[in-house]
């Protein structure tokens, strides 16, 4: 898409409230479910299933209270976060709500995504959130029935977001099939192709996506330059070098039909900083990060005062650091889809008469 498009009112206002004044997204996610259950289970030697609702709600409320004020927007879930922490989100901070259930269906080793039962795009809009976030599991080698299911799921959300006039933030995550070694060089080698082809697939206009939330399209731990344990002390057999990774990022930027932000997917802080720097160089419009920001503070759990102290002493400074790094990101309205802030509006005076209600 190279033509200048004007956005509908709700999508324009929604994107404005999620980004900062320069059009850059500095968003924090606290909608995680299994990763948070796992982090809390580690303390007390429990299974994730043994972690209680109240524990999760209390931790998410603390994360929201501590981190939302320093973000341009916060991503919450309707179950554990919303009913307790909505009033902890300052009005000036954008509100994103998650739609997909964390329980996916496994069919022949492939992941089928669903909405949280009883939650919907219409409810998200009505509840006052400025955007709908959906995670769709994907890889380019899916069975036809899986592909059809995922496409119908994503297209349905896109259509509902058009109806409700609310931004659709699509997160794409690749995943291993049974037998694949996620910690190995071959998996890391396959990642750029998988990420790029997933993005290419959902870049189709029929899916109605307004902002992509994307994985880094490689694994820096497997680059020649960082493979000797730069991030975690573990040496690995390299799968590519930095120049190649920059090439993948350039390809990614060419493919995206809408602005995109980087997700952190549980990588450590130093690695995510480097991912983000490279992504912003390549044209990303900021980040929507969770665990890279707050996971290490949860090592203090269940001492909530210590978690809070660590959030203040380490997570907030890290959030401010990556926010500063994102200053070189591309304002979303400067993406080639829009062509600058001045081109965002071009409605006729009578626009509101035909605008659906």
């Amino acid at each position: 898409m190279t033509s200048v498009e004007t956005l509908s009112a709700g999508k324009l206002r929604g994107l404005m409230t999620l980004a900062d004044e320069r059009g850059i997204f500095r968003m924090v996610a606290v909608d995680q479910r299994p990763p948070l259950f796992q982090a809390l289970a580690r303390h007390g030697d429990r299974t994730p299933e043994q972690v209680t609702y109240d524990e999760v709600a209390a931790v998410k409320t603390l994360l929201t209270r501590m981190l939302a004020p320093a973000a341009s927007a916060i991503l919450i879930d309707p179950v554990w976060t919303h009913p307790h922490a909505l009033h902890q989100v300052p009005g000036r901070v954008g509100l994103l709500s998650t739609l997909e259930d964390h329980n996916f269906r496994l069919e022949n080793g492939e992941r089928w995504s669903y909405s949280i039962p009883g939650w919907s795009v219409a409810k998200i809009k009505r509840s006052g959130a400025a955007g709908v976030k959906v995670l769709a599991w994907h890889r380019p080698d899916l069975r036809d029935d899986t592909q059809e299911h995922q496409d119908a799921f994503v297209a349905g959300v896109g259509e509902a977001c058009r109806e409700q006039d609310i931004p659709f933030i699509l997160e794409l995550l690749t995943y291993p099939k049974p037998g694949e070694d996620v910690g190995g060089t071959e998996y890391a080698r396959a990642k750029p192709h998988r990420v790029l082809e997933s993005v290419r697939h959902y870049a189709d206009e029929r899916f109605g996506v307004d902002l992509l939330k994307l994985e880094f399209p490689a694994d820096l731990k497997f680059t020649r330059e960082f493979a000797s344990g730069a991030f975690d002390g573990i040496s690995r057999r390299p799968g590519y070098d930095l120049a190649e990774v920059k090439g993948y990022l350039a390809d990614l930027s060419d493919i995206t039909n809408v602005p995109w932000v980087l997700l952190s997917a549980g990588v450590g802080q130093l690695e995510f900083s480097l991912d983000l720097e490279l992504a912003c160089e390549a044209g990303a419009s900021g980040f929507l990060a969770g665990r890279a920001v707050w996971l290490e503070a949860l090592e203090r759990y269940p001492d909530m005062a210590a978690v809070e102290a660590r959030l203040a002493a380490a997570s907030l400074p890290y959030l401010r650091r990556i926010s500063a790094m994102a200053e070189t990101a591309t304002p979303w309205w400067d993406h080639r889809r829009y062509g600058g802030v001045a081109a965002l509006q071009g409605a006729a005076p009578e626009w509101y008469r035909e605008y659906p209600g």
Copy 2:
């Protein structure tokens, strides 16, 4: 209402985004229509009808661009402001949209209010605004048919705002009937009763109002202390003294069933400052002011560069001054209706299942 009530999700989030982080409203209105047509008509010796759409749109866009960044929220109209200036409203600034048509119907000298044809609460919600503002003309001595019309109009908006789960900001304005001298002491004397009875009438829960936008319930120009021309050099026969005015404000505060903000209704800056100080002392939650902030800058019209310079040199400092004065206002969540920020949420974990979508 002394019981603690929890707010629905959309109304809670909406009110949060309209207020600042302390729960105080520092809102600027640029939705004026006749007062703006009149101000622009003054230059060039024209009638208000001769002012063009493009002139009004350009001025409203300038006001939005200059003033919105310094406000907690801005009130716009869908016709002249929205299609040109939405992208000038920073995402961190709340967005309010106006519903009522500036053309009222005159029936036996009484004003019947209507929505802008083609605009609606559902459209306001869908367009991404955080609240619906409606001006209802009122006085306690209306004919039954007028009262019924106005009540049906207000109740209908309240019901639509409940359906859409968006805050309903009701503005009440009293007005003269034919033959009444708005500039005289008798009119000023009658104002407290008229304002108080209007508020009492619409404080009924059936109207579904979330925030009241109210006139100062007296006219300081007619107080004994300021009647010798304190604001405009004109001496007037006093109608009351300051102690009585404070009594009206205390009565107003007792009557309001929801938080309230002060409107400026075209009074000058010094007078509005004093109005605001007294209102905040009496329990107001801030202001939603228009002309007191920006009208005098329009004296430079049609020299738009001069208007902009005056907005920067005088209107913005005035906005910051009244914002500082509003620091003594009552956070909206401390109104007796809510009982503090901690009491705002009390939803069950399953709230989202029954929540309408």
